[in-house]
């Protein structure tokens, strides 16, 4: 008996209407991601990878199918409950950093902890710890506009780390960075994975996806396993297409 997976998606579909036509953004997808995994989801634009990320990130509810996150069925939860799940279980790393420009690095990292209701003192400690982890322990008072792109992305990663969520969800984390800083950020992600963080990375760049332990390709709303450093045995997929 295998250990319970961190993410288990079963025959999940997502459709939406666009200009009167029904678009099948995700079509009967099944996917398992274990604790400690480093999975890259790769696909061209329009393949449904953003929709998959929104569903995995609990930002959007699926039309049909089941989704277990960290042992909890989350596909049919109410909005406020989903917000709580996002807050506790998922650390988002966006392509455009999505930091709040008026807040300092420290305040940005504290934000998810504020919504979790962590007391001020503990919040600050945790935030500084996360910033130190990404190598920005000295720049806590800087505003995002006073930091370079790579540093901003590291603040965003620290924000994702601060609440110590079981999964880090990165959407094109290097998309807005030049090659060198992009590589640095990827190194940081790999380092975090070695420390035990589960990472799901969404990208269209094969050079990035190759650095993951496992690659899932998505095309026209359907996924296929592709292997990275380590090929996942087909048996672990129930409907791997």
């Amino acid at each position: 008996m295998e250990a319970k997976p961190l993410i288990q998606i079963e025959t999940l579909s997502k459709q939406y209407k666009m200009g009167g036509e029904i678009v099948h953004a995700l079509d009967d997808i099944s996917l398992r991601i274990n604790y400690g995994d480093f999975v890259a989801i790769i696909g061209p634009s329009g393949s449904g990878k953003s929709t998959l990320m929104n569903v995995i990130g609990c930002l959007d509810a699926p039309t049909a199918g089941k989704y277990w996150l960290d042992g909890e069925e989350v596909s049919r939860l109410r909005e406020s409950k989903l917000a709580e799940i996002r807050n506790r279980k998922i650390g988002f790393i966006f392509q455009g950093f999505n930091l709040l420009n008026k807040l300092s690095a420290l305040e940005n990292v504290e934000l998810p902890l504020i919504y979790r209701g962590v007391p001020a003192k503990q919040r600050k400690e945790q935030a500084i710890e996360a910033l130190t982890k990404v190598g920005l322990g000295e720049r806590v008072k800087h505003k995002p506009s006073e930091l370079s792109g790579g540093q901003q992305q590291r603040v965003a990663i620290a924000r994702a780390l601060a609440g110590n969520p079981p999964i880090l969800l990165a959407d094109e984390p290097t998309g807005a960075l030049d090659t060198r800083t992009g590589a640095e950020v990827m190194e940081l992600m790999k380092e975090l994975n070695r420390q035990g963080h589960t990472i799901v990375l969404i990208t269209h760049d094969t050079a990035i996806s190759k650095q993951a332990k496992r690659v899932v390709r998505i095309q026209d709303g359907q996924i296929s396993e592709e292997g990275g450093e380590r090929r996942e045995p087909q048996s672990s997929l129930q409907n791997g297409g």
Partner: protein
């Protein structure tokens, strides 16, 4: 997320846009300042007038006799009969007209009061010099006069007026006394007056009878009783013609004045409340713009775990903080303005704590009411769409 955290966030966001926040608050600031200054001036004026009326004595009654003609008038002796009661301290029948008085080349127009000796006590005048009108002057139709302080100076300058003579409507009168200065009241200056015996004035103006009786009641508690007694007597005299006379209570005047000023205060308050309302709409406008502007921020906050309630509270508190701060600034400006008004224009200004509290409370309430719509709009944004917003 707790409230103090929400207030911190609101403060930050207000300070981040200082100019815009100030302009947003302007409506509330002006509204609150207007409420405080206008109501302050209104209440100040009321207080001033009320004090003045009260200083005249609240135990004064005025009987106006309007019915004229041979059968329906009373002469001064009848008037004294009517008012001859235990509870009445003094009563002065009056026959008063405006006339021009003249001494050589000095001439002025004053109110000439024909009355009896009681007038001095009823009106609480003091004599500066000489004597007042006496009963014997009435009996013998004496052409003597007592001058008000201002009239004395107008006619005779700084020289002693007593013993000198002057003309009323061309008839020569002798000055026997000068009244001490008493200042102004509701009915005009008390010092621009010429007092002559009522019998003489009936002849002078060819108008028989008493127009007014000023009555001073011995005890303020007996006012109503005296009014009833007087009305009964007068009704008998005029054979039930109640239109021929009217007993007028000083308290009635006070009441009617305060009801006027209450209405005025209410109207001022209403105008100010409307300006507060307009200020609130201004806040709502800016908040709506701000929600649109900060769509992305809302998306980020929601993505990392802000609940609908958190966003709602954040924007609501921002709007309350804006209107509350505006209210505080308005209070400061309102108090400042009323102080300046009271010093520069010598108006009595009464600052009432309840009005200030009410204005502040109302401005906060406006913040809640007009913040609800934008806050609700913000909290209902869907995180994916909000994150996609550029």
């Amino acid at each position: 997320m707790n409230l103090s955290q929400a207030f911190k966030m609101a403060g930050k966001s207000i300070l981040a846009n200082k100019m815009r926040s100030l302009l947003t608050m302007l409506g509330i600031i002006i509204g609150v300042a207007a409420v405080i200054a206008l109501v302050g001036v209104g209440q100040g004026t009321t207080k001033q007038v009320t004090d003045q009326v009260e200083s005249l004595g609240t135990n004064l009654l005025t009987v106006n006799i309007t019915g004229r003609g041979s059968k329906t008038t009373v002469d001064y002796k009848e008037a004294e009969e009517i008012t001859n009661k235990d509870d009445i301290a003094f009563a002065a029948p009056i026959n008063q007209q405006n006339a021009s008085v003249k001494n050589g080349s000095e001439s002025t127009s004053v109110s000439v009061v024909g009355t009896t000796a009681d007038y001095l006590d009823v009106k609480e005048y003091e004599l500066a010099q000489g004597r007042f009108v006496a009963q014997i002057d009435l009996d013998y139709y004496q052409r003597i006069a007592v001058l008000g302080a201002t009239t004395a100076t107008d006619l005779f300058g700084t020289t002693n007026a007593v013993g000198q003579s002057f003309l009323i409507n061309g008839v020569r009168y002798k000055v026997v006394g000068v009244l001490a200065s008493k200042g102004s009241s509701l009915t005009g200056s008390n010092d621009e007056v010429v007092v002559i015996p009522i019998t003489t004035s009936e002849r002078l103006f060819k108008s028989k009878g008493v127009k007014t009786i000023n009555v001073q009641v011995a005890d303020a508690d007996k006012m109503d009783q005296v009014v009833t007694e007087l009305e009964t007597e007068l009704s008998k005299k005029f054979r039930g013609d109640t239109n021929s006379y009217r007993v007028f209570n000083q308290q009635d005047l006070l009441d009617s004045f305060s009801s006027i000023s209450d209405t005025l205060s209410l109207a001022l308050g209403g105008v100010a409340a409307i300006s507060l309302l307009v200020g609130g709409i201004g806040i709502m406008n800016i908040m709506l713009v701000s929600v649109t502007e900060r769509t992305r921020e809302i998306g980020i906050r929601k993505a990392i775990g802000a609940k609908k309630k958190d966003i709602m509270i954040q924007f609501l508190i921002e709007s309350i903080a804006l209107s509350g701060l505006g209210g505080l600034l308005g209070i400061a400006i309102g108090i400042g303005t009323s102080q300046i008004l009271s010093h520069a224009m010598k108006i009595t200004v009464v600052l009432s704590i309840p009005v200030i509290g009410l204005a502040f409370g109302f401005s906060v309430f406006i913040g809640v009411v007009f913040g609800l719509f934008p806050a609700n709009k913000a909290s209902n944004l869907r995180p994916i769409e909000a994150l996609r917003f550029e």
